[in-house]
C-alpha cells in the first residue's frame, strides 16, 4: 500500500521548513533508519529518517523548496511491485484527525505578523539611520560578537554554546571567530559554572553566562543572587560583579511545567541586579551590548518563540540602548497598554483590533524591568486615564502588580478605572495543547480588559 511521507515537525516550535536536499531518489529502496532528506528549520539542518521500509515511489516536493508547511506530503512510498505513477501529487494529506475538542475552542493566538507601526517618542538612533531586517537570534549573536571584538575580557560560557553552536543557535559562529578560550562549553553544572562566572567577574573578566533556559538557572540562583547581586553591597562598594546571565525565559511550545516558567518578577525583585526582557531585535541587540558593558550583574531574559522573529535593526557601528528607558510603540488616547518581552505580541495585536473599533491604545514596551521606567507609564496614564498590563508570567506578586501599585501611587487622581492585568494563569504550565493555550494570556483577554477599563 502506498503511504505518504509528510513534512515532519522537527522541533517544538517548527511550523514550516526548507526541504534542503533529498538523499534518496525515486525508485530507491529504503529501510528504517535511512536518511531520506535534509530539512532546515530556523534552528538547524536536520536529517530526516525513514521509519518503515519501502520504495521511494514519487518525490512530491523538490529539493530547495522553502516554507514547506509541517504535514505537507513530500513523497510517496510504495511497496515492491507497486507503482506511484497513478498517485496524484495533490493527494489529500494523511494528517491526523483533529483531537476531539473538549469544549468551546480557546481563542487562537497564532503568531502575529511582525508589527509595523513603530512610533518611538525618543528614538534610540538618529532619524534616517539605515535599517536591516534581523532576527532576534542574529541580533543577540551580533551583540555578543561586537562586544567580544571590542573587549578581550568578554567571554561566553554555558552548555552547548561552542561546538554545538548553542542549543538555540544564539552563539552560531562565535567559536569559529573567538576560539575556545573565549567560547567555553561547560558540563551540565549550572550551580558550578554560574559561581565560576561570578568569581571570574571579580577577577577582572566580563563573563556572559548562557543558561540553556532560565528554568535551569534555578540550579544556579544562589550565585545569581547571593554572590553576584549582593557582593558589591557587602564589600562596601569594593567588589562589583560585571556579569550577564542570559538565556530563554518563559513558555516555549508545549514543553511542560518544568520548562516554561517566566522569572521576570523573581529577578526584578532583587536589589543589585538589573533585569532586561526585550521584545524586538533592535532592543535585544542594543540592550545586550549595554548589559555586557555594565559594571553590575544583569539578568537578560530572552524568549524562544521570539528568536526567529525579524525586526528592523539600525545599521550603526555601535548601537546601545540605556537601561530604564521604555519605548512607546504606538501612541493613543483612550488607554495605556503596558507590556514587555513576548507580552508585546498580545499588546500590539490587541491595539490593532481595538483601533478598528475606535478605541485608541497607547502601547508601551518597558524593555527593562529593573530599573523600571515608570515615568513614561505615568505620563501616558495621565493622558489616557486607564491602564492594562500584559505578561505571560504568573499573576501573584508579578511585575504587573508592581506596575499597578506604582501607577496608583504616582497617578491615583488620574485613574478612571482600576489598572487591570492580563497574565499567565495561576497554574503550573500544562502540556496538553488546549490547556496550554488557556494557561497563557491572549489577545482576546487584552481586548476584554481594555473594554472593561474603558467601559465599552
Amino acid at each position: 500500500m502506498a503511504t505518504e511521507i509528510l513534512m515532519p515537525a522537527l522541533s517544538p516550535t517548527m511550523e514550516e521548513g526548507t526541504l534542503a536536499k533529498w538523499l534518496v531518489k525515486e525508485g530507491d529502496t529504503v529501510t528504517s533508519g535511512d536518511i531520506l532528506a535534509e530539512i532546515e528549520t530556523d534552528k538547524a539542518t536536520m536529517e530526516f529518517e525513514a521509519v518503515d521500509e519501502g520504495i521511494v515511489g514519487k518525490i512530491l516536493i523538490e529539493e530547495g523548496s522553502e516554507g514547506v508547511k509541517v504535514n505537507t506530503p513530500i513523497a510517496i512510498m510504495v511497496e515492491e511491485g507497486e507503482s506511484a505513477d497513478n498517485l496524484s501529487a495533490s493527494a489529500p494529506a494523511a494528517t491526523a484527525e483533529p483531537a476531539p475538542a473538549a469544549e468551546a475552542e480557546a481563542p487562537a493566538s497564532a503568531a502575529p505578523a511582525a508589527p509595523k507601526a513603530v512610533v518611538s517618542l525618543e528614538p534610540d538612533y538618529p532619524e534616517g539611520t539605515e535599517m536591516v531586517s534581523t532576527t532576534v537570534r542574529e541580533a543577540l549573536r551580533d551583540a555578543m560578537a561586537e562586544e567580544m571584538r571590542r573587549d578581550d575580557t568578554v567571554f561566553l560560557m554555558g552548555e552547548e554554546v561552542a561546538q554545538y553552536q548553542g542549543a538555540y543557535k544564539i552563539s552560531q559562529g562565535l567559536l569559529d571567530e573567538f576560539g575556545d578560550r573565549r567560547v567555553v562549553d561547560t558540563p551540565i553544572t549550572e550551580h558550578g559554572f554560574a559561581g565560576i562566572g561570578v568569581g571570574a567577574s571579580w577577577g577582572g573578566l566580563r563573563p556572559i553566562v548562557e543558561f540553556m533556559t532560565f528554568n535551569f538557572a534555578m540550579q544556579a540562583i544562589d550565585h545569581i543572587i547571593n554572590s553576584a547581586a549582593k557582593t558589591l553591597y557587602m564589600s562596601g562598594g569594593q567588589m562589583g560583579s560585571p556579569i550577564v546571565f542570559r538565556g530563554p525565559n518563559g513558555a516555549a511550545a508545549r514543553v511542560g511545567a518544568q520548562h516554561s516558567q517566566d522569572y521576570a518578577a523573581w529577578y526584578a525583585s532583587v536589589p543589585g541586579l538589573y533585569v532586561v526582557q526585550p521584545f524586538s531585535a533592535a532592543d535585544a541587540k542594543g540592550l545586550l551590548k549595554t548589559a555586557i558593558r555594565d559594571p553590575n550583574p544583569v539578568v537578560f531574559l530572552e524568549n524562544e518563540i521570539l528568536y526567529g522573529r525579524a525586526f528592523d535593526v539600525p545599521k550603526l557601528d555601535d548601537f546601545t540602548i540605556p537601561f530604564g528607558k521604555a519605548r512607546v510603540w504606538r501612541e493613543g488616547d483612550d488607554v495605556t497598554i503596558v507590556s514587555w518581552g513576548i507580552g508585546m505580541n498580545y499588546a500590539l495585536e490587541a491595539a490593532d483590533e481595538l483601533a478598528k473599533e475606535g478605541i485608541s491604545a497607547e502601547v508601551i514596551d518597558m524593555r527593562t524591568l529593573r530599573p523600571l521606567d515608570i515615568e513614561t507609564v505615568v505620563r501616558s496614564v495621565q493622558k489616557t486615564n486607564r491602564c492594562v498590563t500584559v505578561e505571560e508570567a504568573w499573576p501573584i506578586a508579578s511585575m504587573s502588580d508592581h506596575i499597578g501599585s506604582e501607577i496608583m501611587r504616582e497617578a491615583f487622581d488620574y485613574l478612571d478605572a482600576p489598572v487591570l492585568k492580563c497574565t499567565g494563569k495561576d497554574v503550573p504550565m500544562p502540556y496538553a495543547a488546549n490547556l496550554e493555550k488557556l494557561a497563557l494570556t491572549s489577545t482576546k483577554e487584552v481586548i476584554d480588559a481594555v473594554k472593561a477599563v474603558t467601559y465599552r
Binding site: L10, G33, E47, A99, E103, I188, R254, Y431, N434
Partner: protein, 336 residues
C-alpha cells in the same frame, strides 16, 4: 567489557530470553511510533526517545520485586513500559490527551504511576537523583527491604547534587541503586568533553559506594549486575552504582541536528551491538524459530498500533482541568 561478562550469558532459559526480546521490542516499536506521531504534529514539545538503550531498563526491571521503586529523567518512555505501565496511557500522555497517565498535563517528560511505583519523569538534569535517594530513605525509615532504582545520564553525573546525594546515601546506608545510563553523549557533548574522570561509577569510591561498569547492550549482563546491586541494597549494605554503557541511536530529542557524531558511528553500533539483535540471534541459535519471533513482532506491532489509535481518539482534557491538581483535592482553604 563484553568479554568479562560472557560467562553469565549461557544459562538463560528460552522463556527468559523471549521475555526480554518481547519487552525490548515493545520499547523500540513504541518509540518508533512516537517519533512518527511527533513528525505528524500529534506530539509536541520535547520528546526524548530511548531507542538503543532498551536492554538497560529491561535487564534491571527483571531484578525487581513488587514494592521496589524507580525514578528517572525525561527519557522515560522505556522505563514506564518496562515496569508494566499501559502503553495506551503512555502514548495518550504523549499526545496530551485525557487518557494519558497525567491526564494530558505532564507530557512526554512528566509521567507517574503510583500503582507501579514509578516516580517520574523529571525535566531538570540531576534533580531526580536526590529524589530517588529520598524514596530509599522512606523505605529504610519504614523498615522494609524495598530498593529504589534511580536512573540518570552521563551528563547528569556531573551535577553537584549527585555528589551531595552520594555522600548522604552512603552515610545513611540508603537502599538505592544509582544507574548511570552512559549513552556517551549529553545532548551534543561527548562524555570526554565534560569530564576527565576515566569512569563515572568510580567516583562513588570517594564516598565509599561500591559499583561497577556494565555492558548495557547485553541484557543478560545488565540483569546479572542488577541482581548483584539489588541484593547488596536489600541486605542493608547501602547504595550501589551501576554505570551501564549504552548508546542512543536517535537524536537527543526530536530537534537534534546530530553534528557531534558520525553516521558511521551510529550505524556501527546498530549493526554490531544492538541489544535486541543479540537476543534474537541467541534465541535462533537455540530452539526458537523465525515463526515464533515473527508472531511476537506482530503482537507487539498490534499493541503499539492500539496505543497510537487510543492516543488519537482519547479526547483532549476538559478545560476545567486547567485548575485541578494544584492542591490536593479538598485540602485547599476556601479562599485559596
Amino acid at each position: 567489557m563484553a568479554a568479562k561478562r560472557a560467562t553469565r550469558k549461557s544459562n538463560a532459559s528460552k522463556e527468559e530470553l523471549l521475555k526480554y526480546y518481547r519487552e525490548m521490542l515493545l520499547i523500540r516499536r513504541f518509540e518508533e511510533k512516537a517519533g512518527q506521531l511527533y513528525g505528524m504534529g500529534l506530539i509536541g514539545g520535547f520528546c526524548h526517545l530511548y531507542i538503543g538503550q532498551e536492554a538497560v531498563v529491561v535487564g534491571l526491571e527483571a531484578c525487581t520485586e513488587e514494592g521496589d521503586k524507580r525514578i528517572t529523567t525525561y527519557r522515560d518512555h522505556g522505563h514506564m513500559l518496562a515496569c508494566g505501565m499501559d502503553p495506551k496511557g503512555i502514548m495518550a500522555e504523549l499526545t496530551g490527551r485525557s487518557g494519558g497517565f497525567s491526564a494530558g498535563k505532564g507530557g512526554s517528560m512528566h509521567m507517574f504511576s503510583a500503582e507501579k511505583h514509578f516516580y517520574g519523569g523529571h525535566g531538570i538534569v540531576g534533580a531526580n537523583v536526590p529524589l530517588g535517594a529520598g524514596l530509599a530513605f522512606a523505605d529504610k525509615y519504614k523498615g522494609n527491604d524495598r530498593v529504589t532504582f534511580t536512573y540518570f545520564g552521563d551528563g547528569a553525573a556531573n551535577q553537584g547534587q549527585v555528589y551531595e546525594t552520594y555522600n548522604m546515601a552512603e552515610l545513611w546506608m540508603l537502599p538505592v541503586v544509582f544507574v548511570i545510563e552512559n549513552n556517551q553523549y549529553a545532548m551534543g557533548t561527548a562524555v570526554k568533553r565534560a569530564t576527565k574522570s576515566p569512569s563515572l561509577w568510580e567516583r562513588g569510591a570517594a564516598y565509599g559506594i561500591a559499583g561497577e561498569e556494565v555492558d548495557g547492550m547485553d541484557v543478560l549482563a545488565v540483569k546479572a549486575a542488577g541482581q548483584k546491586a539489588i541484593e547488596h541494597c536489600r541486605a542493608g549494605k547501602g547504595p550501589y552504582i551501576l554505570e551501564v554503557m549504552t548508546y542512543r541511536y536517535r537524536g537527543h530529542s526530536m530537534s537534534d541536528p546530530a553534528k557531534y557524531r558520525t553516521r558511521d558511528e551510529v550505524q556501527k553500533m546498530r549493526e554490531e551491538r544492538d541489544a535486541i539483535e543479540q537476543v534474537r540471534k541467541r534465541l535462533l541459535e537455540g530452539d526458537a524459530t523465525e515463526d515464533e519471533l515473527k508472531a511476537i513482532d506482530k503482537e507487539i506491532k498490534e499493541i503499539v498500533n492500539e496505543a497510537a489509535e487510543f492516543s488519537k481518539e482519547s479526547p483532549e482534557p476538559d478545560l476545567a482541568e486547567l485548575w485541578t491538581d494544584i492542591y490536593v483535592d479538598g485540602s485547599a482553604p476556601q479562599n485559596a
